[in-house]
């Protein structure tokens, strides 16, 4: 940089920057484009129903009356239940792999748990329909009559329904939460644990210190899992029963936002129907966008080194950095 570059070179560098920058800007444009197109395509439904769309629960394509409340409920309820199951397990895995596991076991175990993310949604769905749902039905039939009086366990034991969906979702979310939480724990300075040990802490107490240090990042990991659960489509569609109902019963078939789009989009005969489905998509987009942004900021606040994406069965960073 000491001598001034020749004008030709300077303009070539400028062209390079503009040219590559153009492609990079496409990525930003893509997200903006999705937002715009979804909004534009759902205008019909937004104009017709306004906010009532999200407050009412009639879903009647024949008479052209659409209310999305049951889908919102189904999405939130199933994601909440999935997180309830997956969070302790995922954090347990993250702690085990980053703090406790013998070195020899670490890589294979990390590989196996992240393999859960490599299985496509449709395969989880297939497995859900033919293996998990019959299993859940058996489980539901075991529920004694007195338990059935609780709102959580009412309804016939069908197998398909909220419980099956929550279980499949939990399995699918675990690798995402655990891999990010593991990276967060890895980013906690070793001095934190060493200080705790020096004060006479037990293993668990030292882990608590590390977790407290990385708590925002761990929260980010959990929220990232929430985003995955909310957007998950195929596996849920196949096991949740697809019946728009607002009930707290785990046994009852319900519906989610993603599932109703997957099921009814190609059958939507009227423009209003399509528009209503796209409005659900728009909200799904907005929610996941916010959740992902929030999780990213939380994780970034702990460390910018932590990668936030689909866990990879091939640990790129680890292998490459070990070498250098």
């Amino acid at each position: 940089m000491s001598s001034a570059p020749s004008p030709r070179r300077a303009s070539s560098d400028l062209g390079f920057r503009a040219g590559t920058g153009f492609f990079a800007a496409l990525v930003v444009l893509l997200v903006a484009g999705i937002a715009f197109v979804l909004w534009q395509q759902s205008r019909l439904s937004i104009a017709k129903f306004g906010f009532n769309f999200w407050r009412t629960k009639t879903w009647d394509p024949v008479s052209g009356d659409f209310g999305a409340l049951p889908f919102i409920w189904g999405t939130l309820y199933s994601s909440f239940l999935a997180l309830l199951i997956s969070t302790p397990i995922a954090l347990g895995i993250a702690i085990f792999l980053s703090e406790l596991s013998p070195r020899l076991l670490r890589t294979p175990l990390a590989f196996l748990t992240e393999l859960l993310a490599a299985i496509p949604s449709i395969v989880y769905g297939l497995w859900g329909v033919f293996v998990l749902v019959p299993l859940v039905r058996k489980l539901e039939m075991l529920a004694p009559p007195w338990a059935r009086r609780f709102p959580l366990f009412t309804g016939p034991p069908l197998g398909v329904g909220m419980l099956a969906a929550a279980l499949v979702l939990a399995v699918m979310v675990i690798p995402f939460t655990s891999s990010v939480a593991r990276e967060v724990l890895k980013a906690v300075p070793a001095t934190q644990r060493e200080a705790a040990y020096a004060l006479g802490a037990t293993r668990w107490e030292a882990i608590q210190v590390a977790m407290r240090y990385g708590r925002t990042g761990i929260l980010g990991a959990i929220i990232l899992g929430l985003g995955r659960a909310i957007g998950e489509t195929m596996a849920v569609t196949m096991v949740i029963g697809n019946s728009p109902a607002i009930t707290s019963s785990l046994f009852a078939p319900q519906y989610t936002m993603a599932a109703v789009i997957a099921n009814e989009f190609t059958e939507a005969a009227s423009d209003l129907y399509t528009s209503a489905l796209i409005e659900i998509g728009l909200v799904l987009f907005a929610i996941t966008l916010l959740i992902n942004a929030a999780s990213r900021f939380l994780i970034w606040s702990v460390s910018r080194e932590v990668k936030v994406e689909a866990p990879q069965a091939v640990p790129l960073r680890a292998s490459a950095s070990e070498v250098s």
Partner: protein
């Protein structure tokens, strides 16, 4: 005092045990899914599955030849669009890491990664299907391509950053322009890793169903025309899984096995390439 220490150690041991149990617990569904896919898949897979077309509804036999070809075409289409965009924007991110655009791109790429695939499907539908009013292979390829872009962008950036900066400085010192340094020195040096990233993104989209439901739709006939609906393994498995026919269920398992094998193949290839990268750096 001793009592309290004992209690603390007990609690600690208990939690350590629970964490180990969590790992085992997560491996149970993994084992179960693989067990069933392998067991049901292998017993259902036959030569017909790869070579025959689907039989008319309710008639046993037939295969998914068209869906296998369809999936490959869709993956090819997606790669054709996404790889150049992803690569070049990855180059931008690593060449100008501190620029405002780079921060925005990094952020949106990560966010794009978390957007439900079904939403991407709606977007591709509005972009490609609506104007011409019919489903097409092209629309499916576009949807899958959109999902690949952020993955390739981020892995390209990451792997370019692993290349020693002295290489770039050397090229620039020899009088190379920035673009020459980036495309003929840096990119080739990171190539094995970038191929790994591409393979991983392929593994990721090969199993996607939701964005294809209303873009490439499905097709029970042989079609390789890009402007026509095309069959794909994932959509076919979905249709067969929720159908009432025993034989279709069998084929759905076979399809799942082929799908998982395809993804596994991509991952293993990625692994092989990464190992070559490691060896390259070591020597």
């Amino acid at each position: 005092m001793i009592n309290q220490t004992f209690r603390r150690k007990l609690v600690s041991g208990l939690v350590v045990g629970l964490c180990g149990a969590a790992v085992l617990l997560a491996l149970v569904p993994l084992f179960f899914v693989f067990f069933y896919v392998l067991k049901q898949g292998f017993s259902s897979l036959n030569w017909d599955f790869f070579t025959k077309m689907p039989k008319p509804v309710g008639e046993p036999g037939g295969g998914m030849a068209n869906a296998i070809v369809g999936t490959l075409i869709l993956i090819g289409l997606a790669s054709l669009g996404a790889i150049p965009v992803g690569l070049v924007s990855g180059v931008y991110l690593s060449e100008y890491p501190k620029s405002r655009l780079a921060t925005a791109v990094r952020f949106t790429a990560d966010v794009l990664n978390g957007i439900p695939s079904i939403v991407i499907g709606i977007f591709a539908y509005a972009l490609v299907v609506l104007p011409v009013k019919h489903f097409s292979a092209l629309a499916g390829g576009v949807a899958l391509g959109f999902m690949m872009i952020p993955i390739i962008t981020r892995t390209t950036e990451e792997l370019l950053n692993l290349v020693p900066p002295t290489l770039r400085e050397g090229a620039l010192a020899l009088g190379a322009t920035r673009s020459r340094a980036a495309f003929t020195v840096m990119l080739p040096a990171a190539l094995p890793g970038i191929i790994t990233g591409i393979l991983l993104s392929l593994a990721r989209i090969a199993g996607e169903t939701a964005p294809l439901l209303f873009t490439s739709f499905s097709n029970r006939f042989w079609s390789t025309t890009l402007s026509q609906p095309i069959a794909s393994l994932t959509v076919q498995v979905y249709t067969y899984a929720i159908s009432p026919y025993e034989d279709w269920h069998r084929q759905a398992w076979a399809g799942a096995l082929v799908l998982v094998s395809l993804i596994f193949l991509f991952s293993v290839l990625a692994r092989v390439v990464t190992q070559r990268l490691e060896r390259m750096h070591r020597t």
